[in-house]
Symmetry: C2
Subunit: 404 residues, 2 copies
Amino acid sequence: MEGEPTLRLRVFDLNCWAIRYLSKRRQERVRLIGDTLCREGFDLVLLQEVWSERDYSDLRVKLAGCYPFSHYFRSGVIGSGLCVFSRFPILDTLLYQYSLNGYPYMLQHGDWFCGKSVGVSMGVTAPLLSLSLQLHAEYCREKDAYLPHRLVQAWELAQFIRHTSKAADVVLLGGDLNMHPEDVGIRLLRGWTGLRDAFAEARHFEGCKNGCTLVPDNCFTDKSELLPFPLGIRIDYVLYKAISSFTVKCEELKTTTGPAPGTDIPFSDHEAVMATLHIQRQGQPVGATLGTADLALADVVTEARTEVSVGLRAAQRQRYSSGRMAVLALLLLLLQAAAALGILAGLGTEQPFPKLSFCLLAFLALGVLVLATGLHLFHTMEVKILRGTEDQMWMALRALQERP
Amino acid sequence: MEGEPTLRLRVFDLNCWAIRYLSKRRQERVRLIGDTLCREGFDLVLLQEVWSERDYSDLRVKLAGCYPFSHYFRSGVIGSGLCVFSRFPILDTLLYQYSLNGYPYMLQHGDWFCGKSVGVSMGVTAPLLSLSLQLHAEYCREKDAYLPHRLVQAWELAQFIRHTSKAADVVLLGGDLNMHPEDVGIRLLRGWTGLRDAFAEARHFEGCKNGCTLVPDNCFTDKSELLPFPLGIRIDYVLYKAISSFTVKCEELKTTTGPAPGTDIPFSDHEAVMATLHIQRQGQPVGATLGTADLALADVVTEARTEVSVGLRAAQRQRYSSGRMAVLALLLLLLQAAAALGILAGLGTEQPFPKLSFCLLAFLALGVLVLATGLHLFHTMEVKILRGTEDQMWMALRALQERP
């Protein structure tokens, strides 16, 4: 049905890097982002790392005219940092928090405190299910301790999309996935959901080379981190798929390059991704496109499952060592209690230790006991979730193999 | 289309109360449950509070013949306690953890450690989306401090069902909701999702009076808790709805009463709920049945939102007082550090405090600081989630009011 009208949807996605007190020239940049969004008049804006609710409120006030509908997703101690602005009504929202998101004691990485999640908003434009999200950051590519966590997140995200997307005609995902295009997590997400990469599908592209969104030319990026990648890396994506009797095509994809027009600074340390999609109703429902690549998909799931297993073994080791530490601290405490009781009962003829050292040691043992118990509980939870994901992936593999 | 074949689905739901070391005669009861399930041959079995993976494994081995498909949902420190056994293949599973689930420091209530969640399994029978779940327990009906948490859970559950159920033809929910039939959480869940209560809809009922599932006659229940309810209470439910071109009718509902056949003990402290459903394909899709009761639904959402606001204010107070406590502890520590430095620098002519008391006080302040900071972070998270839920409910109310 070529005669059906086409809906042209312009989407803006940006990791705003708006961390209070930490991000450079934050307020200026947020103001700049707001001005540009007002001027450009997109249909849908997906923002990440808007950590301060104050920044969101400011943006909402400024954008009320051109984007009358918006939502801020609250979660974690600091927040999810996710928000959505839309020219079309937002009918419903849902927040899904990943089960695993780093370690609370890795204070310098802070992911745990952010409650990283995926924010889903249902709009009336199609209906369109749009997801804004961010996955766990990669701090060291060579020795990536968070890979299993990021894979669990990619898997949960894929499962979540599979289960929620039936309610929509079009699924649109924009966000900072913290993964390179060829990484196993991206392949898993794309393969398991059937989502297509706007960069690969776009008829026309304009922007940073290879669609990179974290580039050395940006004055806010950490140059030393990008040394192995002189062109930069692509970690921010717009992904999409049509569910029922619709087709989606990416007409154009752009990234920002360099400073925002009329200023000396870029919007953020990430480049923004802007996609123009054409959505059209088809005569008959489009069949599932998944089946054709089942074998390749099975390989990806197997690869991801191997990485999750590696993470599981590491988590088991940490659970064991923190448990052992807790037991040792408890034993020391009991020993000290016994000694103290003995002295009180007059069994010992004299006090063998100076009181102060005795007391300090007891407090130290108590502190270690509390900390090690906390760690043990945390890693127990981690083991459960990693094992649960391993199980689910195994079930997925079986389902893939049993397909005719 | 009266000629379409009817699928008869027999469902078994039970809160098994199988807590290692704590539940009375646990192993005997789990064995009994397994024997009965084998003998009765249900189509779908939804179990809660199977806390030990060992019990699940034993059940799986025993039931392998009659229920070849099963899944155990892992989450939290202890686990979710949820599992599913099915005569039909389980195609896919998903675990959704509620954002709020009690307080980690309420050790005697333990809900926080269980990672209460809803386990979703997709089967091929229809396709059927079956959910097994448990909400936060009610420990004191008169002064129910957990009501806001349970309402957030009911709301998240309802939102989750609305977003995932489009992929299915029939949604079936079985579990211990820890709410009486007329409680606001149940009305919210039923109203917002359109789920129907098998007890209210059943053509034929057999079992405890009023369908109660926690009855004083059960030898494992706490009689003092049930004093205000001489007949018992109904907190375990089977709820269902048809999504697309299907109809579901509840032909029969049963609860267990008293000891299991041939023994002197019941299966659990809860009674089991057994439903026989008739699922039939219709000629044309059934329209949404939701619209008719929009006004009543708006009232329920408003009531729930009020309760969530009450919880929000309490959480804000707790966040404030724990924050204040942390600041005071920090001040005390700084003061002590200053005093210690002063003495070291030789400013004080003599040591004003005994060393031991000084040291003890410092450790006490440090302990209070760590605890109060932890509490502050936790309540900050709680405030965010309660406020997020309030927002979502407000959005729902607006959508309800704007409907023609």
